[in-house]
Symmetry: C2
Subunit: 236 residues, 2 copies
């Protein structure tokens, strides 16, 4: 598995440069992943680039890496926005992790009628995003909105409102049309545990969102988020 | 959210019947979900049916429910088989949960070159399947093969070998053709953390499996399983 770390100060790197990693990243490489000098690593530059590099030593709390070259990156996927009706925090973090891996551009935390009165704090969200980036190699995380306080549904439905929108709605399962190919962007609204209420589904429909079926059974919020985003990403 | 429990002895139920629930299910209803007499519940009959019922009292360790009627069930989805290259146990259990929710017919635990030398035991798998069923309302769990000991790749590739097969392979991402509509069934092979090795991918290809891309970035095993199954379930 690739060893990926974050450069301390954002800014484009260049082949042949030497980068000093901060204590957190050095700890991750040396202690968590047990990397040794000479190990092949990759470095996020914080401005959208990923660079191959070799671990070269330095202080255990300030490892040094020599940059080899830019890692070729895939073309950006369509701009997917997840409107996440907040489930309990661990489920929200799993949804954020999996949406990040799949390439979602933005995640909006939404307080729905059936949401619990709690949400993951900014530090936990930040840690989860960084872990997902290390795993999946994505140089920039999704923009996460509502970390300081979740948005209401009306406010969330106003985000990226020009992109076609869909909402997970099991009452219509098996009766939806497949979504058309997403050219520029699309939005997906999923409800918290227990789903969207009927008034919330009506509100989403009034805002122009279409119902989207997600298989024969009732999905947990985090599963619904990933299944729905996958349907949109791979719409024919 | 629906309150779903399992009938003790498998067998078809009928409207008007009264069912005595065992200690585990009574505990789940009364203590975990805090259900009271009169609560609307649903009961899995263990032979493929789901029944609406009313909780009626009885002993706290042997609650009684009155059956109202059969819950209408969706038509069965195509027969999807997940060949799961074993990641660490918690990731394997997450993959099993999400594949169950999506409707996978079978899950085969596969020992791959990069699998860890550990796998979730039968009791944990059973608990996870039951929890997923309670959540998603699916009356029968997927058949899970390899719980007593994971299968080798060759053995796994011989299962459901008449169904078209796909393997998650990031080296080809963006270059795969969309899978055709799955009529009867399909197989998906995902690798453990670190992915399939090149010889394993060659072995899968030699067995007739096609590579399937799963988005721009490198997915964790459990994310890859759900994204791949979703692509197959909703193939145009």
């Amino acid at each position: 598995m690739s060893l990926r770390v974050f450069a301390g100060a954002p800014g484009a790197l260049e082949a042949g440069a030497r980068v000093r990693l901060d204590a957190e990243e050095s700890h991750y490489l040396r202690r968590v992943r047990r990397a040794r000098d000479g190990a092949a690593i990759e470095i996020f530059d914080g401005v959208g680039g990923l660079w191959s590099a070799t671990l070269e030593g330095g202080d255990p709390k300030a490892s040094v890496a020599a940059i080899i070259d830019a890692v070729p990156l895939p073309p950006p996927p369509p701009r997917l926005t997840l409107l996440l009706g907040l489930p309990e925090p661990s489920a929200a973090l799993q949804a954020i992790t999996q949406a990040t891996e799949l390439g979602a551009a933005a995640i909006v935390l939404v307080r729905c009628a059936r949401s619990q009165n709690t949400h993951p704090g900014p530090a936990r969200v930040e840690r989860v995003l960084r872990a997902a980036q290390r795993q999946c190699g994505r140089p920039l995380p999704p923009h996460v909105e509502g970390v300081e306080g979740p948005l209401g549904l009306a406010e969330a439905l106003a985000i990226a409102a020009d992109d076609p929108g869909y909402f997970a709605w099991e009452a219509l399962r098996g009766q939806d049309a497949p979504p058309p190919r997403v050219s520029a962007g699309a939005r997906l609204l999923v409800g918290p545990e227990g789903g969207l209420t009927r008034p919330e589904a009506d509100q989403a429909a009034a805002a122009g969102l279409q119902p989207l079926a997600l298989g024969p059974w009732t999905l947990r919020t985090e599963t619904a988020a990933l299944v729905g985003l996958t349907r949109l990403l791979f719409a024919p």
